[in-house]
């Protein structure tokens, strides 16, 4: 049993880390907004989805114009991610302005319902536009990096078998790490980051210290949504097909990751995302082996969420909930 689990381990880890990196960056959006407003922005999964569609439409547009021919693939990739980030960032700001700010003084439950409303609107809006333009709301995405290569783990030790890696997976790792480090530096080292942390700690006192609270909240929404949108592009490139409903399940899991890491805590969200991704991939590859075929891969979410429950029983504030006092 252990031998066969070990055999696939390199492949499982690579797939799990790729999925986990996506969860982690999406989880950042949940955790930032929660940290600053104590609002669970359930529309964030849909912002992620909109990012996937925005990036893909830009890519399709570039292709039809023939602009991609002269550029190296990675340059256009970065360009598309940047455009998608701007679009979803602006979208996040707009949502905050329209759907959340008028309700900021209302009970939290009202904002939550407003968030659900926004997420339905986004789903159907994107579906409508996609169907109008292409006649089908399941869109196939042209791949910028189509290559894959094999890592020779088996030559290191016979316990492992080889792992296949898509070039795009490497790109996901790079982009996710750059984004996470960038955000960490921004929040901890810059003036605006300091303002965000101050608003998260105490909104009223921060206002007294001449911090423009509304601007900080808008900035938080912009950054959180832009991160979500960038992951959307990575996701579309990794899996090659998108539909308006991809945000729901993924958003739920990313939210879980944020809770696991301690909601409101940025490093916790990153860690939680990676953990959920790896656990999910490990469970779907090995549950059948571990239970002698009684529980198959379809129970992977049960496994991942059972672990979440166990963690929350012993540490209700999440893994990193109390380790860091400040939350953003």
């Amino acid at each position: 049993m252990f031998a066969s689990i070990l055999q696939t381990l390199p492949q499982v880890l690579i797939d799990g880390l790729a999925l986990g990196a996506i969860y982690a960056v999406v989880a950042l959006g949940y955790t930032m907004v929660y940290g600053i407003l104590e609002l669970i922005n359930f529309a964030h999964g849909e912002i992620f989805m909109t990012g996937a569609f925005a990036g893909t439409s830009v890519l399709l547009l570039f292709q039809s114009m023939g602009w991609l021919g002269g550029l190296p693939a990675w340059v256009s990739y970065v360009l598309i991610i940047f455009i998608a980030m701007m679009v979803t960032g602006a979208l996040g700001v707009g949502i905050e302005r329209v759907a959340y700010r008028p309700l900021r003084k209302a009970p939290k439950l009202i904002s939550l319902i407003s968030a659900f409303g926004v997420s339905f609107v986004l789903q159907d809006l994107v579906r409508f536009i996609a169907e109008l333009k292409t006649g089908n709301y399941i869109i196939s995405v042209p791949q910028l990096f189509d290559g894959r290569f094999t890592l020779g783990f088996s030559s290191m030790t016979a316990m492992f078998s080889n792992a296949t890696v898509k070039t795009n997976t490497i790109f996901i790792f790079i982009v996710a790490i750059v984004l996470m480090i960038g955000l960490d530096i921004f929040v901890n080292r810059t003036k605006w980051g300091g303002a965000m942390r101050a608003v998260a700690q105490d909104r009223d006192t921060a206002a007294l210290m001449s911090i423009n609270v509304n601007k900080v909240i808008l900035l938080t929404f912009f950054i959180g949504s832009a991160l979500g949108g960038s992951t959307g592009v990575l996701f579309a490139q990794q899996y090659g097909t998108i539909d308006p409903y991809i945000g729901f399940i993924l958003g739920l899991k990313a939210f879980t990751a944020a809770v696991l890491g301690g909601i409101g805590n940025i490093r916790g969200a990153m860690f939680g995302g990676i953990v959920i991704g790896v656990l999910e991939m490990f469970a779907s590859a090995n549950l059948g082996i571990m239970t002698g075929g009684n529980f198959g891969a379809e129970y992977k979410d049960v496994f991942a969420f059972a672990i979440l429950i166990v963690v929350l029983i012993f540490k209700p504030e999440g893994l990193f909930g109390k380790a860091v006092k400040e939350k953003v």
Partner: protein, 403 residues
């Protein structure tokens, strides 16, 4: 099952459409009814209704059913006028909606001149509507509904010329084991009634035929990352993979499996019979297999002549179900004619026609031979296996499996 997405879209549009099309539908009926009155001046009228979606997402197939039935009726008009009867087709639009289908069925039942129904396309509509037909003793022949429940309730009126859903899995297994020579098969299913049923039927038959099942795993509809399941498949190194589910997940599984370096052929059921599969899987779709209850008409005996005639008459090429609708109508008219002959030219009763249809044996049609068993299933129904030789839809017909 395979119209699941269309169902979602249809449901979304249903509210808007209901009012407008309700009027349109009744207008057609009154028009047809008054036409019937004028026709009955010279001779007695026998009406056959068709029920299929003429509007909405499946209207292409629905229209094909109507036109196929119409063509057969025109071919038989002369025979019946010799007997002193004029034939008339009454097309109804069920919109792929069970509620509309049942409402139409009540109208059909109230019109005493209607002796039979050709339809419906969707199993979900056929099943509730058949209860109404049973009440009025109107025989129905469906050219397309495959759900097992449709005939399993042993209604006297419900018949179909295509294969049952639970024959698809075994037929696919037979192809996999006997033709492809698969020995170690990995089965994936999507935990829906359709996908799981298909996968289980496939698994059981494959085991019976002597293949080993290397794994039987489930996935969740709506997800995009199936690397976990495919990692298990990769370690087992199977020589064949069967997927019970819809094309959105099927396409991704094909693509991600090839990304992982899994080269075994991948096969699925009729839900993969969609151009969407090719779009999602891209060039990786080459070599993928799927089963379908509809055959390629051009390959059948006399099929190409028939297709040319259809093209000439209606200005478009026949769809997959056109020929099945044609055969269904021919069976219906044959049964009516037989009851006419044995009844000495009297207007046949609905009950007699119903029993006559069920008694059909060894009928040779364009698309299929037909013998109805005591439940109304066609003993000659076949499942056709298609392969994507290229990354274009549809695939190439590679085999047919009979029951």
């Amino acid at each position: 099952m395979r119209w699941r997405w269309n169902g979602v879209v249809a449901a979304a549009l249903a509210v808007g459409l209901l009012a407008g099309c309700g009027n349109g539908g009744s207008a057609t009926t009154t028009g047809a009814a008054s036409g019937g009155d004028s026709g009955s001046a010279g001779s007695k009228v026998i009406k056959i209704a068709t029920q299929s979606p003429l509007s909405g997402g499946s209207s292409i197939q629905g229209e094909a059913i109507r036109l196929g039935a119409q063509m057969s009726m025109e071919d038989h008009k002369e025979d019946f006028s010799k007997l002193g009867y004029s034939l008339e087709l009454v097309p109804y639009d069920d919109q792929g909606d069970p509620k509309k289908g049942v409402a139409n069925a009540e109208q059909i039942g109230a019109d005493q001149a209607v002796l039979g129904v050709i339809g419906h396309l969707n199993s979900g509509v056929s099943i509730p509507s058949s209860v109404v037909y049973e009440k009025y003793n109107i025989p129905m022949i469906s050219p397309a509904s495959t759900a097992t429940e449709f005939t399993d309730r042993k209604l006297k009126v419900a018949n179909r010329v295509v294969a049952r859903d639970d024959f698809q899995g075994p037929a696919a297994a037979e192809y996999a084991v006997k033709t492809v020579g698969a020995k170690k098969i990995f089965v994936i299913q999507d935990k829906t009634a359709y996908g799981q049923g298909l996968a289980e039927a496939f698994r059981d038959k494959a085991q019976e035929l002597g293949a080993t099942i290397a794994g039987y795993e489930g996935i969740t509809v709506g997800e995009k990352d199936f690397n976990g399941v495919l990692n298990i498949a990769a370690t087992q190194n199977p020589d064949f993979i069967f997927f019970g589910g819809l094309y959105a997940e099927g396409g991704l599984i094909i693509k991600q499996a090839r990304d992982k370096g899994i080269t075994a052929p991948i096969m699925g059921g009729d839900a993969l019979d969609s151009s969407g599969l090719v779009e999602i899987a891209g060039a990786d779709v080459k070599g993928a297999l799927y089963s379908s209850v509809a055959g390629e008409i051009a390959k059948m005996e006399g099929g190409s002549d028939w297709a040319a005639r259809y093209q000439q008459e209606f200005g478009k090429a026949p769809e997959g179900y056109s020929a099945y609708a044609y055969d269904s109508m021919t069976i219906m008219l044959d049964a009516i004619k037989k009851t006419l002959d044995s009844g000495g030219g009297e207007m046949p009763s609905r009950e007699a026609v119903r029993d006559g249809v069920r008694a059909t044996k060894d009928f040779k049609g364009i698309a299929t031979e037909v013998s109805f068993d005591d439940k109304g299933d066609n003993a000659y129904a076949k499942v056709y296996i298609y392969e994507f030789a290229d990354d274009t839809y549809p695939g190439k017909l590679v085999s047919e499996v009979s029951q």
